[in-house]
Amino acid sequence: MRKKTGIIILSGILFLGGCTSAQREEGQEPLRTVIFYPNTAEEEEQNIVKGIAKAAQEALDGKEQVLFSVYEIRKEQYTSMEYKVDAAAAMMPDVVILGGADPSHSAEEYRKLVDNEIHFLLIDGDHKDSGRDAYIGIDNEQAGEMGAKFISQQLSPKSKVGIISPILPESVGNELIPASLVQRYQGFCRQLEQYEMIAIPAECECTLDNFSALQKVTEFLEQNQEIDVLFCTDSVSGAAAANAVKNLDMGAQVKIICFDLTNQIVSGIKEGIIEAAIIQDTRAIGEACANLLCEMQDGRVLTGEDSILVDCQIVTTENLEDYL
């Protein structure tokens, strides 16, 4: 009799223990996260978002609490916030990581995400009003300021700077403007205000297409012979500027400062046509994303005010080898 009672009690304990553990397992559904990056051409393989996505994927490898999906989509799809948001909404993930497009034209898409209870993290350009849960990356305005300081301190305090950007803020009305470019532009201009001797005689609006960008920059240089520094807000415009300067044989006169480290930019730096490139550490950003996702799964609640900032670096001929 006593033996039977013991067996019943033991069975009860095991049953309850099993239920508890099952409940615990059920309660620990992995955090489903989605990130999209554009399928760039081979020479542009050092795409920032792709680098961040790969770094985050590597950092999350083996961590079962986060299901991290990386999608390569066409470039035109990537530049469409609507497409990314619709895809994310259809997939119903817990979190989506978005590369920044101009948030002022993506409010509806952001709202759609919020309505579908999908958290979203911004990288490569922040916009606090978007309703994002957190921003992870460099401070693009600060990066722009860094460019201005570099011109003042390292090049010439009396420079005449031409700004090259795929879509300039003045041509708003197009949702393809990445937020990061706008922020860099703004930061650069704000910092430049402090250097009275440096002027911006002209600005050039190019496209994200390499060939047309080259044409536009060439025309811009031919029309503005007095310019001795080109500040390019991204790698496409930077590469176009480098090719144009090379074609016009203006390397001795025009210095170029741009962003990101694509293969073309690396070649430009090596040839001495590009003076400096301001880059963001994609690995550090990717790892920061991974850590944040793990923390979210562990119960961290994001308030929308969170920004995880990673320092940016300036790459010149002297330190180029360190970043290859």
Binding site: F68, A90, M92
Partner: protein, 497 residues
């Protein structure tokens, strides 16, 4: 722990063969199972491509049916669409269950979203029959379908990666299992080789050893050692035990034969000795008979002479004749008899007194005997020849004469008779010769030459081998003769001997 269980060589060979077959069969079965498993798994992995193709096909079919449904609304098409969605859902569930990646979970969710949108389209048609709403709803499903189509390359990459990774893992598993099987086979082969080597060595060594021992036993000069019996473990042990048993019995038989030969030799020796003694006894008796030459005539003569001496008042002559008569009488009466030692002493005294009459002061006599020794039994006429020897060879050759001393005493169960003289003694060579003759008296069947040896022979014949005789002599210093005889007082004791 070693097993002492008996196992025939045939059984051992059978066991070896069975083990070999067993291992080979096990390896073969294991390899077959592994091959089957690998092939099955490979098929299973490749099956995912088919399922994915089926999914794409189902997606297209669903889209077509849905389009038809929007164009020509009918319950049949509605049913078709539902069936298409079932296939679509099933295939993606199957796929997601096998390839558990985040992307396929996403695809599952996308399919679900597609289904929900489509379900709305189907419901909208049935309830509202409004083409405007219907088309709007259909566009939503199309949008989701397009997203799926756009992302298909990503999913295809995931499946490719799964296939590549799984095949790599499978190949690695196959390699590991094959290596393990190979290792097992190697270990088994090594074990069996060692087992067989040990087994064959054991047999060969045992046979060689047995052959060597048998050869040594037959042709060898040394005797082989008989080994202890051992608990047999196979036929060779039995053979070894049997060989040792045979060896042991052979040795026992040889030992028995040796003992028998020794006994027979001893018996033959004793027979020879008995024959010799018998011959000597016969010889002695013959000589004694010869000594009995007409004694009555001698006594009559002596009586006549004694009467003449008394008539002429010659006292010494009378005494000499009387003592001589006494001496002869004793000799004649007791020649081949056993007498008391006191009688023998008396006779010796008679003899010595006669000699003293002859040689006067040149001879001195000293006889002493312990009282209890007088009753001891001894052969008659033993001491007289010894005294005669002492007198003739020791005292008389000396100008000044000498002294004869007889001393008799009892020592334990023996009577010791010592006859000493201070005469001229004898040379070492002579003494050595006499001692040798005494020791090896049986080798001489005559008693000529040395009286002492004859005396000793007589004593041995009458009283037995316990008689001892010792002789010591030194040139010009004298001779000591010691005679030891057992102390018998009853004639039966002597006869028993």
């Amino acid at each position: 722990m070693k097993s002492n269980r008996f196992c025939t060589i045939q059984n051992k060979l059978n066991r070896f063969r069975n083990n070999l077959i067993g291992i080979l069969v096990c390896c073969f079965l294991l390899e077959s199972c592994v091959c089957q498993y690998i092939v099955k798994q490979q098929n299973y992995i490749m099956e995912q491509y088919r399922i994915f193709s089926e999914y794409i096909g189902a997606l297209e079919q669903t889209d077509q049916d849905l389009y038809l449904f929007v164009q020509v609304a009918s319950e049949e098409l509605q049913e078709n669409c539902k069936k298409d969605f079932e296939i679509l859902t099933d295939t993606i569930q199957d796929l997601a269950q096998v390839i558990q990646t985040s992307q396929l979970t996403d695809l599952e969710k996308l399919t679900k979203s597609y289904y929900l949108a489509a379900e709305y389209t189907l419901t909208t048609h049935v309830d509202l029959i409004s083409h405007g709403v219907l088309y709007s709803s259909y566009e939503n499903t199309q949008a989701i379908k397009n997203i799926i189509i756009d992302l298909l390359d990503n999913y295809y990459d995931v499946i490719n990666q799964y296939v590549v990774t799984s095949r790599k893992q499978l190949n690695y598993l196959n390699l590991c299992i094959n290596a393990t099987i190979f290792m097992i086979a190697c270990v088994a082969v090594i074990y069996l080789s060692l087992y067989f080597e040990r087994f064959s060595k054991g047999i060969v060594r045992a046979i060689q050893r047995l052959t060597d021992r048998a050869e040594k036993n037959v042709f060898g000069k040394e005797l082989l050692e008989v080994e202890a019996w051992i608990e047999p473990k196979d036929e060779l042990d039995i053979l070894n035990n049997a060989f040792n048993e045979m060896l042991k019995r052979n040795y026992e038989y040889i030992e028995k034969l040796k003992n028998q030969a020794v006994l027979e030799q001893k018996l033959a020796q004793e027979q020879i000795e008995t024959a010799n003694l018998q011959a000597q006894l016969t010889n002695t008796q013959l000589k004694m008979l010869q000594a009995r030459m007409n004694p009555h005539f001698v006594f009559n003569i002596l009586n006549v002479i004694s009467g003449l001496a008394m008539d002429e008042e010659a006292e010494r002559t009378t005494e000499a004749i009387i003592r001589t008569a006494e001496y002869f009488r004793y000799s004649l009466v007791n020649l081949d008899k056993i007498v008391r030692l006191e009688e023998e002493i008396r006779n010796v005294r008679d003899y010595l007194e006669i000699q003293k009459l002859r040689f006067d002061e040149r001879i001195m006599i000293d006889i002493s005997m312990e009282e209890e020794c007088g009753s001891a039994l001894i052969c008659a006429m033993i001491l007289q020849p010894l005294c005669e020897n002492a007198l003739i060879h020791g005292i008389i050759p000396q100008i000044n004469g000498g002294k004869i001393k007889i001393y008799i005493r009892k020592q334990q169960n023996m009577i010791e008779i010592q006859i000493s003289d201070n005469g001229c003694g004898m040379s070492t060579e002579r003494l050595h010769e006499i001692r040798q003759r005494i020791c090896a008296y049986q080798e001489y069947d005559d008693n000529q030459g040395i009286g002492i040896v004859n005396i000793y022979h007589r004593l041995v014949l009458c009283i037995g081998k316990d008689v001892q005789i010792e002789i010591y002599s030194e040139k010009d210093r004298g001779t000591d003769l010691i005679l030891r005889i057992p102390f018998y007082t009853k004639i039966e004791e002597v006869k028993n001997v």
